[in-house]
Assembly symmetry: C2
Homo-oligomer: 574 residues x 2
């Protein structure tokens, strides 16, 4: 019999602040791993408290609770080793990985590389770890690191191998999704495993948390940089893998080794069945590589999971949204229906004198096809009453954007009234292109608890809609909705193209300015019209105040309008 | 004649991103200092680009523009030395102080201690500086440091003295105001100057930037920790001081001194007149100590400056707000009138069937006394139209908070319509107590561009109102407004006390929970009722989503609801 370690990666969905619930889930996974004779089970970064806990970490009781919860989890580690992410507290707070075994804390490793860019603020909360460790069991050595530690080349991983003689490592992560992130992660892990000649067991969090979606996609890389296993995306999973330790290389151990913590116990390896509530892994030593999802499907699933977790984790069971007959609200409705079921979604048409008959028909078609409830609340009378109320003040003025915004705000008020009366979460339907240039009404169509597609540019809204119809092989989003020219329908014969360039022109400029931080000159040099670029940039800069008051929504790009983009409102830089 | 350095501190109001405007202002102050035969003039931290520039720093062009602007400023330094805060860029971006003289960059010092807590995110943007310097002129040595550098004991200042032989130092700062901040700063400077036996020339920024107010209050501490001069608060000022260098001590210079940059030129000291656009300092060597403002006046002035700079720096000239007859909107109106003049402020009463006659009279009294315009827009008809619109959906329900919120949102829509039509900045009037417990309507009374008193607890609203009446020796805020029980007037005979404890009970609990991060147990141990504490904490936790969409407003406490408090919305920690 070859010497083996049976290793499990518990790709769980932890909830921020739910220390008790997360603890129970971790214990449940440990017990399941024990049943399957796992030797070492690893959980994601900060599993005990959820990620990112933000300023909860400034509450000393919160961090004490994290430690206390870990201690309770420890009592369930008889005959199994567990690696668990938690916040530790000795004098200062650390982003820690507890290595526990037989009810005993072997070591608390403190994350060394604390990301403080994009959506990350870890230097705000955590002390920088100073020491890496390797652990030896029956003459086999492995290292443990936390998320960013493995992203930095020639650092923690290399030290663990060169100075500690690590033959494989665990990296426990909370790595949020954005487009192309799967490939970025894979590239890093391939590089680290190949250069160091080690297996890497990478376990990532899954679940939505405010603007972030953690997509799981845990991975096992062998010592030649080959992907041995790729975990599910957007779902919990317990991954089990038998590591043949007889074939592991060991690099020469440097004369000043890292601290060595021996834990001499017998590893039992017995064939077991799969973890039934998750995917069955039939052949441990040659697990199947999952066909990775298409990019469109990844984005769609990220939007679905982000929406679902926001709704449920915030204690809602139903959602409400305005349906305009346009593609944005249609896509949002589909995502909501996929997330919480069509019977839990209420759409509302709120026609005014400027609404086309087609818009109402398209909304009805959508609602029917999707199986969601549809209400109708015509807003004309309210609109008339505002005009009357304000007539003494507006008597010498022309109708302008004011009257358009009044309509949008009446609709916002109606959606909020339904939310207040029935306890439904209101969803907003604006896309990233609109929000970028401020083509949206604050307290109007921007009213709501969650902005499902706020990070989805309009051109991607179209792609996703076609993808959905293609995936389900039917016209879920009515073709007329996809094909008609976009319009806010707030004045006679209005079209988006009256105020904006075509989205095919707009989106690439927005991408360069917002996501790439290009300056105007460089955008123009990339082949865009100078006057247009200047106009767009001005629109983006001037609508910062709207975005500051926008609801949160799912991040799917490397730079969304959340914690990853912190622009001053008062800003004279142009 | 005794050897002297004539030193100037240019306490300026820089605007974020206004690189061209800030440059012009800096040059103007340098020219003024030259006229007054100043030897060394110091400007606040990041003066060239404004503070905090946030993610503008991620744009490489922005940092290049900062450097370019500094180079233009340098051409104006013939016969004067200037110390100027700017963002430097060599490979990485630094929070830098340029020491320039005779059109030449003597040195660029890079801030060593980068704050990354509270409202500060400097580790997100800047490389940590590694080297301190002292500068020698005619055998006199001085050091330069940036803001946080002087707050950390046994660090930069001490090294400059012990290893560099510094006899005095400049600290250039961007230190935002909050209650008691003046004393905190003074304590630090007293400690550093006394322990090191050095003069400290501390120059701070002035002006409002989104949620922050920089209050100036530059200081000169002598080598025994005595305050020689305390700069104006909330105003620009050029402070000039003749330092008698013959009496400066020099600690023994350690055998490994800091890098020494000699700049051998003659210092001319000639008696001069004062900088006329600011306070005249009659006797340089014994400048008068300004009587420091009372705490109430400091807070009031912070609110005024924060509001004024937000309005003007964002290109508005007028503001509009709803007047309910209550104390919150009255105080907000007074602050707005003080900030931009009463003729630029428009108040709007929006009575419904639940508004008392007294409320309208109180609003009229306030508007008359203050000299602001008052409009009246009764909202009853709009309210009726909403009820009618929604009657088919609400037919089996009772009236509840939904109908209250509809009224608040109609008012929000009216204020926004006036803002849209006439280009006025809408101000919101909610206080910190309300915003803490969620006793406010999202998209209703929370609608607006700037929330003037969002960091002012209700009990402080009363204190400020009494202070204002006392200061102006007349009933600016009507006594009836101050004395009547607070009410939202959204249903018959409603009082705040129906839903909330008295503000005298509420505010201390909120202070402990929000500003002190106490846990429930500790708040109760401080002498508060258990059931009440639990209820309040739950209300605070559950209304995080409202605060996320609140407009910015002036920060006057050590923990406001801005960048200094970053709580997850999805949060199961209770």
């Amino acid at each position: 019999m070859t010497p083996k370690f049976r290793i499990a990666l518990a790709q769980i969905n932890a909830t921020v602040g739910d220390i008790s619930g997360n603890k129970k889930k971790i214990i449940r996974y440990i017990e399941e791993a024990k049943k399957r004779n796992v030797d070492i089970v690893a959980f994601p970064e900060l599993s005990v408290i959820g990620y990112p806990p933000e300023d909860l970490l400034l509450k000393s009781q919160f961090v004490s609770d994290s430690v206390k919860s870990l201690e309770e989890i420890m009592t369930h580690t008889q005959d199994i080793m567990a690696i668990i992410g938690y916040a530790n507290n000795d004098d200062e707070v650390s982003n820690a990985a507890a290595i526990v075994h037989n009810r005993r804390l072997i070591k608390s490793y403190h994350k060394i590389h604390l990301p403080n860019y994009d959506v990350f603020d870890e230097r705000r909360y955590f002390r920088v770890g100073e020491t890496g460790y390797v652990f030896e069991i029956n003459d086999v050595r492995f290292g443990v690191s936390v998320c960013e530690d493995i992203w930095i080349p020639d650092s923690v991983t290399e030290d663990q191998v060169r100075y500690g003689g690590a033959q494989f490592i665990f990296n426990i992560s909370a790595s949020p999704f954005h487009r192309n992130k799967v490939q970025e992660r894979k590239d890093v892990l391939i590089d680290r495993s190949r250069k160091n000649g080690i297996f890497i067991f990478y376990v990532n969090l899954v679940g939505g948390q405010d603007e972030l979606v953690f997509d799981g996609n845990s991975m096992i890389m062998d010592n030649r940089g080959e992907l041995r296993y790729s975990g599910k995306q957007f779902e919990e999973e317990l991954i089990i893998y038998d590591l043949d330790t007889s074939k592991l290389e060991q690099k020469s151990v440097h004369p000043t080794p890292g601290t060595r913590i021996p834990c001499d116990y017998d590893i039992k390896v017995i064939p077991v069945e799969m973890f039934e509530i998750n995917e069955k892994v039939k052949d441990y030593n040659a697990p199947k590589l999952r066909c990775s999802m298409s990019e469109m499907e990844q984005i769609y699933q990220a939007l679905v999971l982000g929406t679902k977790d926001y709704i449920y984790k915030n204690g809602f069971s139903k959602a409400v949204l305005g349906l305009s007959g346009g593609i944005d609200s249609a896509l949002t409705a589909v995502i909501a229906a996929e997330a919480i079921g069509p019977h839990s979604v209420v759409g509302v048409t709120m026609p005014s004198q400027y609404s086309s008959e087609g818009s109402i028909i398209d909304s009805e078609l959508l609602a029917d096809g999707l199986g969601i409830t549809l209400y109708s609340v015509p807003i004309q009378k309210a609109f008339d009453s505002y005009k009357q109320m304000l007539s003494h003040l507006f008597k010498d003025t022309d109708e302008d954007i004011t009257e358009e915004n009044i309509q949008a705000r009446i609709r916002g008020n109606v959606i909020m009234a339904l939310s207040n009366k029935f306890g439904w979460l209101p969803l907003t339907t604006g896309n990233k292109s609109e929000l970028s240039v401020g083509y949206c009404t604050l307290y109007g169509d921007m009213s709501g608890g969650f902005a499902v597609i706020k990070d989805v540019p309009k051109t991607l809204v179209y792609q996703l809609s076609l993808h959905i119809n293609d995936k389900y092989k039917r016209e879920i989003i009515p073709l007329n909705t996809i094909n008609k020219p976009p319009s806010a329908e707030l004045k006679p014969d209005q079209k988006d193209s009256d105020s904006l360039p075509s989205y095919d022109e707009l989106d690439p400029i927005l991408h360069l300015y917002i996501e790439q931080d290009y300056d105007i000159k460089r955008i123009i040099e990339s082949g865009h019209n100078e006057a247009l670029v200047k106009r767009i940039v001005r629109m983006v800069d001037r609508s910062e105040y709207k975005r500051r008051q926008a609801p949160p929504g799912v991040r799917i790009s490397p730079k969304a309008f959340g914690k990853d983009r912190r622009m001053p409102i008062t800003n004279h830089y142009h």
